[in-house]
């Protein structure tokens, strides 16, 4: 069954994904589409036929986006800046959570009586599992086109949505920072100086690998989930 409002919603979402159209631009185009729909349905066309014709007359999304991009340059850059900021914050959060997770695992293991090299294995293993999961989730998100579009639209459309998102990110970052400081204080009391020294040495080695691979991973991640990849071109 053809649902006109649903089709218009989908069409709006496709337009929003093209980055270069703002909400007021899309509202104006929708108003135009609806007037044309009214005229065509008055000529005894079905809603579906009228929608197809009206949408076609407005022009395909790709060329519309191209024309609007020439006008809305500052908005386009603002959106890209938001996007870059979101990526950096997400990266920060994932790294923090990863560190806290592994430190908490070490604490739990040492509380359970694990000592020596086994602690290093726990440390490394928990990090590998965490970042593996994070990479998998990121990959899945990049595959889910609809989910991405909805998420992007909601953030881009709503001022308070943006505020809440960024505020919650900062709260999480602060909480992670606090626990990252607090956990080692407890761990230190449980272990011998030698064990702690060993672990710190190994951690530094891992950090070195991290420093080298992080920018590369960031770059690949950014390319993978860039919004323009989800721009649908109408056939």
């Amino acid at each position: 069954m053809f649902d006109l409002n649903n089709e218009i919603k989908k069409w709006r979402r496709d337009l929003a994904q093209s980055e270069s159209l703002g909400k007021s631009d899309i509202d104006e185009l929708e108003s135009h589409l609806r007037e044309e729909l009214e005229r065509l349905t008055a000529l005894k066309l079905s809603e579906q036929e009228a929608f197809w014709i009206a949408r076609h007359r407005l022009g395909d999304i790709h060329s519309l986006a191209e024309e609007f991009a020439k006008i809305n340059t500052s908005m386009l850059w603002r959106k890209r800046l938001y996007w870059a900021g979101a990526i950096v914050l997400a990266w920060l959060i994932v790294t923090y959570i990863g560190q806290v997770t592994s430190r908490a695992c070490v604490l739990l293991a040492s509380l359970a009586g694990v000592r020596g090299y086994a602690l290093n294995i726990v440390d490394t293993l928990s990090q590998v599992i965490f970042f593996g999961t994070a990479a998998f989730v990121l990959y899945r998100i990049s595959k889910e086109k609809d989910m991405q579009g909805d998420l992007l639209c909601k953030i881009a459309d709503n001022f308070w949505g943006k505020v809440v998102l960024f505020a919650s990110v900062f709260v999480i970052a602060a909480a992670m920072f606090a626990s990252e400081t607090f956990i080692p204080v407890v761990t230190v009391r449980l272990l011998h100086a030698q064990e702690i020294g060993q672990m710190l040495m190994l951690r530094k080695c891992k950090e070195l690998i991290w420093i080298i691979s992080a920018p590369l991973a960031l770059l690949i991640g950014t390319i993978l989930i860039r919004p323009s990849r989800f721009r649908k071109v109408e056939a």
Binding site: S24, S31, H32, E35, R57, G59
Partner: protein
Amino acid sequence: MAVSKDLVAASATPLVLSILSEGENYGYAIIKRVHELSGGQMQWTDGMLYPVLHRLEKQGLIRSQERLSETGRKRRYYRIENKGTTVLREQRSQWMLVYSTLRKLWENEPCLT
């Protein structure tokens, strides 16, 4: 006869400004007016009108205002500014010059059809 893309693009500004000099109007009605005046010969891709309107607004030639129509639909109405009237006058004399030059050339030639 379809008007070429370049000519459509070049004539967009004087067309829009001329229609708006008749009184304020909104996108859909502007498209319909062009369609009606050209006897359906000049067909724009409807959506392409809006970037033109927004560009003219940025240049200060027209001004827009969002209002509810009599049917309760939100519409953006455009109105020509003084600067727009001046630009329209300049464009008009340019187009008239092109037109009269071509006409003189074509009048001297025997009709080919």
